[in-house]
């Protein structure tokens, strides 16, 4: 078990066992926040930066509290201030420029930025977001950050000889940002690298990025890596070498078909297991989620299992997203109780530390 996990156990937790419950990050935005953003873009509506900031604060407070109401042990603000996972960061990093939307599929577009100069750190990206969320939350707060490999892969690269060189420079900036977040009190950081799933052969580049990201970060800061929607057999077991505490994996969507990948060799890190599907609008029952959590226990013992949705849930209806969170927590608490009273066995042998 990673030694920094116990700090997230809530005071007065009912069960001896503790399955850390959390989310990946994004959450559906309230419709009024989208309206507020539209107003902010409309030069004729007198809805300025201050008004938008107020609306974002309100939304961040609302969704943070919604996560707490669902009972999650570690919460996020649902990324209320972020537009898109690459755009948001590219907007804040020197060296990027935007030229307009490009197609992803059908009529879905993305403002894919161009790196036109060496990237450098300017204003802080997430410290304000973290400080606000921490100030309104009673639970510990996790900070998701788009990883350097994804920031590099999902940009046009005009300035660097290779995308790897760009990714390494970006990794140094991510490291700088994490240092500032840690100074501000953050203890749980999640690096999102969805691009790794599309180009699994680049796992060594992601590994080198993570070495740079983790350099000098204290051990009590928990670092997770989120990778989703890919063929995990192409990056496992190599990813076990990465300097992170936890891997956050999407497995519910594929009905745990890929679970066995992580059994050989033994999974030596903490596992954050996706137990609800982020792209299916039906709410999984508590029983169903309990069964999913027990799949995770085939890979790691309870003290190394984190329970979360497959991926960010921003595309779900908000009601559905909430019920999935609430059921996820209820299921985790039931499994903890079952482990306590011995009605649930632990199939995965404890790791030899």
């Amino acid at each position: 078990m990673s030694s920094n996990r116990e700090q997230f156990r809530p005071d007065g937790h009912d069960n001896d066992h503790f399955l850390l419950t959390t989310v990946v990050g994004s959450y559906p935005k309230p419709k009024w926040l989208d309206r507020a953003s539209d107003l902010h873009e409309d030069p004729e509506a007198s809805f300025g930066d201050e008004e938008l900031a107020e609306a974002e604060d309100d939304a961040a407070r609302l969704i943070t509290n919604e996560h707490e109401r669902a009972g999650l042990d570690v919460v996020v603000d649902g990324e209320m201030r972020r537009n898109e996972m690459v755009e948001f960061f590219a907007d804040r990093i020197e060296g990027y420029e935007f030229n307009g939307p490009v197609k992803v599929w059908g009529h879905n577009y993305f403002d894919k930025p161009s790196v036109v100069d060496d990237v450098s750190y300017d204003e802080s990206w997430l410290v304000d977001e973290y400080e606000f969320t921490a100030s309104v939350a009673d639970r510990p707060v996790k900070v998701p950050i788009t990883g350097p490999y994804t920031l590099a892969s999902w940009s046009f690269n005009e300035a660097y000889d290779g995308d790897d060189e760009l990714a390494y420079d970006l990794a140094d900036l991510v490291n700088e940002e994490i240092e500032k977040l840690v100074d501000a009190g953050a203890r749980y950081i999640q690096i999102d690298e969805p691009a790794l799933a599309t180009t699994p052969d680049d796992h060594a580049i992601v590994g080198e990025c993570l070495e740079r990201i983790a350099a000098g970060i204290p051990d009590d800061v928990r670092i997770g890596l989120h990778v989703c929607y890919g063929d995990y057999s192409r990056i496992y077991p190599e990813i076990l070498e990465f300097p992170v505490d936890e891997f956050d994996l999407e497995l519910a969507n594929g009905d745990y078909e890929q679970l066995d990948v992580f059994k050989d060799p033994d999974f030596s890190k903490d596992l954050a297991l996706g137990v609800v599907d982020a792209h299916v609008a039906e709410v999984e029952s508590v029983e169903e989620i309990e069964a999913n959590i027990r799949k995770g226990l085939e890979v790691v013992p309870p003290e190394r299992l984190t329970v979360s949705p497959d991926c960010g849930v921003k595309l779900l209806p908000r009601e559905v997203a909430y019920e999935k969170m609430a059921n996820l927590v209820a299921a985790a608490r039931n499994v903890e109780a079952g482990l306590d009273d011995g009605t649930i066995d632990v199939p995965a042998a404890p790791a030899d530390d």
Partner: protein, 329 residues
């Protein structure tokens, strides 16, 4: 070597059309082009076509494409609009961060006329029209067959289907047959020969110069050798992603009397200057033994251009046109 400025088509929609069409059609997978769009959507595409043709003419490209604005599913388009093809899930398009609807072939690939319809409208707007079609091998690789039963029959059926579509084209100067899958998913022993025959079937149906254009790397030597047997006028090579192996293929095995040179990066916003484009073409000419002579050299982007934001797309089209304007030697 006569230098002809062109592109492999698949253009980005103008930004206002992106919005208009997504409002008219919707964002979901069942909202995409099906081949029987209503009059309002059709009129929007007519406007887009006129704009895309106009900007190529204004730039001075030697060959003008229709723009393929309706190709929501990129190279899979001719099948996704076919009446005997169902569209399945959204699947990844090569190793790009793009997705298309999986065309599931459930019945005979009969004549459709969808491509010819767009080309007829474009032919009214310009001379020097160049048709763009997916190659039969790539199209069969992008699709799921639930009707023909085995790969060999399916490839032949896709080739016959495309040949029928090409036969119905109005007068065009050139047909670009796009075959990226020959590079990214090379055909196995035996299949390589059939892929070449399939391209030949499509080429024979064209009453125009035919270019079999490849990209995202270089062809394996055997695949290249087989492709040389197809009755096409030129083979296209991607000098952006792999200039060494492509040059090796040409110098070692020769090529057709004409050649297409992918020297502008269709997937990066860095705009090549006309001088850079000229240097790359000169480099190719100087690197190939003088004994190998070329009739035409199509100077082109390596890939379709929908990957780019509109401003950079337009600048690349202009650079290609400018690169060939002053030098025709």
């Amino acid at each position: 070597m006569n230098r002809i400025a062109t592109t492999p088509g698949l253009f980005p929609l103008p930004d206002d059309a992106k919005e208009t069409l997504s409002d008219l059609k919707g964002h979901q997978k069942h909202d995409l082009v099906s081949g029987d769009e209503g009059p309002e959507i059709e009129a929007t595409y007519d406007d887009v076509r006129e704009e895309l043709v106009g900007l190529q003419r204004d730039a001075g490209l030697d060959r003008v494409v229709e723009g393929q604005a309706r190709w929501d599913d990129m190279l899979a388009h001719p099948l996704t609009v076919h009446e005997n093809v169902e569209t399945g899930g959204i699947v990844r398009y090569y190793d790009n961060n793009n997705f298309y609807r999986d065309p599931v072939v459930e019945g005979e690939l009969t004549f459709s006329g969808d491509l010819a319809g767009d080309l007829e409208k474009a032919a009214e707007l310009t001379d020097g029209l160049q048709a763009v079609v997916p190659g039969p091998y790539s199209l069969s690789e992008l699709a799921t067959d639930e009707y023909y039963g085995d790969d060999e029959r399916f490839l032949a059926a896709v080739a016959d289907f495309l040949a029928g579509e090409v036969e119905a084209f109005p007068d065009v100067e050139t047909v670009f047959v796009l075959e990226p899958s020959l590079v990214t998913d090379p055909p196995a022993e035996g299949e390589d020969e059939r892929a070449s025959e399939a391209i030949d079937t499509v080429a024979q149906a064209a009453d125009a110069d035919v270019v079999a254009h490849t990209y995202w790397g270089a062809l394996e030597e055997k695949v290249h050798a087989h492709l040389l047997d197809a009755g096409v006028d030129a083979i296209g090579y991607d000098f952006v992603t792999n200039h060494e192996d492509n040059l090796y293929n040409v110098t070692e095995y020769g090529t057709k009397d004409s050649v297409a040179l992918g020297v502008v990066d269709g997937q990066n916003t860095l705009v090549e200057s006309p001088e850079t484009i000229r240097e790359r073409v000169d480099w190719f000419r100087d690197s190939v033994p003088e004994a190998i002579e070329f009739e035409d050299a199509y100077v082109t982007a390596n890939t379709g251009l929908f990957y780019l934001p509109v401003n950079r797309f337009e600048q690349k089209v202009q650079a290609l046109a400018d690169a060939t304007r002053e030098v025709t030697a």
